[in-house]
């Protein structure tokens, strides 16, 4: 469940490539446990509802209860993955989803086969075989996924980015020196600019010492590319210096 996730790249006919994050075995197993708890709870509720039948005939009650459990255990993942586009309750809570291996919409036969093969994946116990396949296969597929041409991907929560947090429209003394800004934009590579932007976005996650060291190194690097006069940089911390650099590099015209 860490960030060290495997990815698979989907290439669309339009030539766009986008990565999908493969859901790890731990996250999948937790989703499975949640689903099994749901099935157990639902079969208990159904059994309670059927209790009236027991007054009529214990045989019918036992038959209906056993059948309900069997239908729920085998039908629940199939029905929900089909109805909810690759998600069950457990998968939904853990933000994972079954998708077609080529990123297309799932077909019912794929959902059915990947769930039927649970009987092989769950061998010898606790999904050891399926878990081992999911762990070692490059696309994180258990046997059912291989047979059904499916992948289980993880969609971390995404939200529309808040750009104001990154580039607040405050006064930037560097803009007083357009020729130096031009030199900076010319000299800073996209990779360096991206690195500085990442540093600003993640600054609050750094320890105080690491934060000071990182921004000092970045500021020194940028000072080497374009040296702004002392009156433009007086009182600027290294962090503020880097933010000014990022601002002028990512924004062509003053905001």
């Amino acid at each position: 469940m860490s960030d060290s996730v495997r990815r698979v790249e989907i290439r669309t006919p339009e030539g766009i490539v986008f990565p999908m994050r493969i859901a790890g075995p731990v996250r999948r197993f937790l989703a499975l446990l949640l689903d099994q708890a749901v099935v157990l709870a639902a079969s208990q509720v159904a059994s309670g509802l059927l209790r009236g039948l027991g007054l009529l005939s214990w045989d019918l009650y036992a038959a209906a209860s056993a059948l309900t459990y069997f239908v729920l255990a085998t039908g629940y993942p199939m029905a929900l993955e089909w109805k909810w586009r690759g998600q069950t309750l457990g998968k939904r809570l853990l933000r994972i989803r079954v998708i077609d291996e080529q990123g297309l919409r799932l077909r019912f036969s794929q959902v059915a086969v990947r769930n039927m093969l649970r009987f092989a994946d769950s061998l010898p116990a606790f999904y050891l075989l399926g878990g081992a396949f999911a762990f070692f296969s490059p696309r994180g597929q258990r046997l059912g996924d291989i047979a059904g041409n499916t992948l289980v991907v993880w969609h971390p929560r995404t939200r529309a980015p808040d750009l104001d947090q990154v580039l607040p429209g405050t006064f930037n003394s560097f803009r007083e020196y357009p020729h130096l800004v031009a030199r900076l934009r010319d000299g800073v590579s996209p990779a360096e600019a991206g690195l500085a932007l990442e540093a600003i976005l993640r600054r609050d996650r750094l320890s105080p010492d690491a934060r000071v060291d990182l921004f000092r190194e970045l500021a020194d690097h940028f000072r080497g590319i374009a040296t702004f006069p002392a009156e433009g940089t007086d009182g600027l911390s290294d962090e503020r210096y880097v933010r000014n650099v990022v601002d002028v590099v990512f924004r062509e015209t003053p905001g």
Binding site: I10, G15, F18, R85, D100, G103, A112, V113, A160, V166
Partner: protein
């Protein structure tokens, strides 16, 4: 090159939001259809956001925005390209009358191999029991009634039959137990075919050994009439169902192996998966029927139910099932 991120985001964000809202609506109701105008708009937005994603991939860009665009494009891609096949309504009667028997016949060679494996195991199991009767406990399923001497069991069953309905109040429960157990076994026989067919081959052969040993035990003890009368009413449906599970497992294994086929693994599997689902669906129906017969009929012996009647019923069932699988869906449009 570096682009003006703020201006870019401000200009494009309305389109991202619109696409996100549209996808939310579609995903909430998968059965809903879009009118032409909405479908065109969805396609336009997908292309526009795809282009935005391409720009962020080319230029130095903020990671969070890229992740957001990637998620949007992947969702839209699944919606737009995944609906190429015209969805059709499932028709149970048409499926039963045509689809299942035709699918069965399409893979008849796998069924023949499945039969050969079970029969091969049966010959071995029967032969071993005939040669080494003392190995009965190792060769036969570990059920107490099977460990008895066949003649003793038959006399016990016939005696019990005269002293009232010993299965009263258990039959419905029993039918479900037989159905669920046999379905699990069949699914395991099928699913283990993913191991290049090896799992299916082993399980079919192993079940053949068990079956052959039981048959030999009763036949050698001169109780073959009881054996047929006991097994045929439900076995005439249950054993074909297991054989079809073996057939499905072998088809799956064949697709994994891909001998002599130019298609890649994914294409081979994509081609057989609908047939596998059809076969397993048929197996479930057959086993539901077999479970009912086993609980309500097979366990009753003479004099309650004459052996001739039970054997006759089993034979008729087997004949009807064979006819259905052989002739079902022939002579109709698209038949094979």
């Amino acid at each position: 090159m570096i682009i003006d991120m703020r201006r870019f985001v401000e200009a494009e964000r309305p389109f991202w939001t619109e696409l996100e809202q549209m996808l939310d609506v579609i995903e909430k109701d998968p059965a809903a259809t879009l009118n032409v105008e909405r479908a065109r708009r969805l396609h336009y937005l997908y292309q526009r956001v795809s282009a935005d994603l391409a720009r962020t991939a080319t230029f130095s860009f903020e990671r969070e925005i890229r992740a957001y665009l990637e998620a949007l494009v992947s969702r839209a891609y699944g919606e737009i390209h995944g609906t190429r096949e015209r969805p059709h309504r499932f028709e149970p009667l048409g499926w039963l009358r045509q689809t299942f028997p035709r699918t069965f016949r399409r893979h008849i060679r796998a069924f023949a191999l499945s039969c050969a494996l079970l029969a091969g195991g049966g010959v071995l199991g029967g032969g071993l029991l005939a040669l080494r009767p003392e190995a009965k406990a190792q060769l036969m399923p570990p059920f107490p009634h099977l460990m008895l001497d066949p003649a003793e069991r038959v006399s016990r069953e016939e005696e019990a039959a005269t002293s009232g309905d010993r299965l009263a109040g258990q039959k419905a429960h029993g039918a479900v137990a037989y159905f669920t157990h046999n379905t699990r076994v069949s699914l395991l026989v099928f699913a283990s075919g993913v191991a290049w067919g090896m799992g299916t081959i082993l399980l079919l052969f192993y079940n053949g050994v068990l079956l052959g040993a039981v048959a030999a035990d009763y036949t050698l003890a001169g109780q073959s009439t009881f054996l047929w009368a006991w097994l045929l009413p439900h076995g005439s449906v249950e054993i074909p169902a297991i054989l079809i599970a073996g057939q499905a497992g072998l088809v799956l294994g064949g697709a994994v192996l891909g001998w002599g086929r130019r298609l890649g693994l994914r294409a081979r599997l994509r081609r057989v998966v609908p047939d596998l689902v059809t076969l397993v669906g048929g197996i479930a129906l057959l086993l539901a029927w077999a479970g009912f017969i086993e609980a309500f009929l097979s366990q009753y012996h003479a004099p309650v139910l004459p052996y001739g009647l039970k054997i006759g019923l089993g034979a008729v069932q087997l004949l009807m099932l064979s006819l259905y699988l052989w002739r079902g869906g022939r002579g109709e449009v698209g038949s094979r």
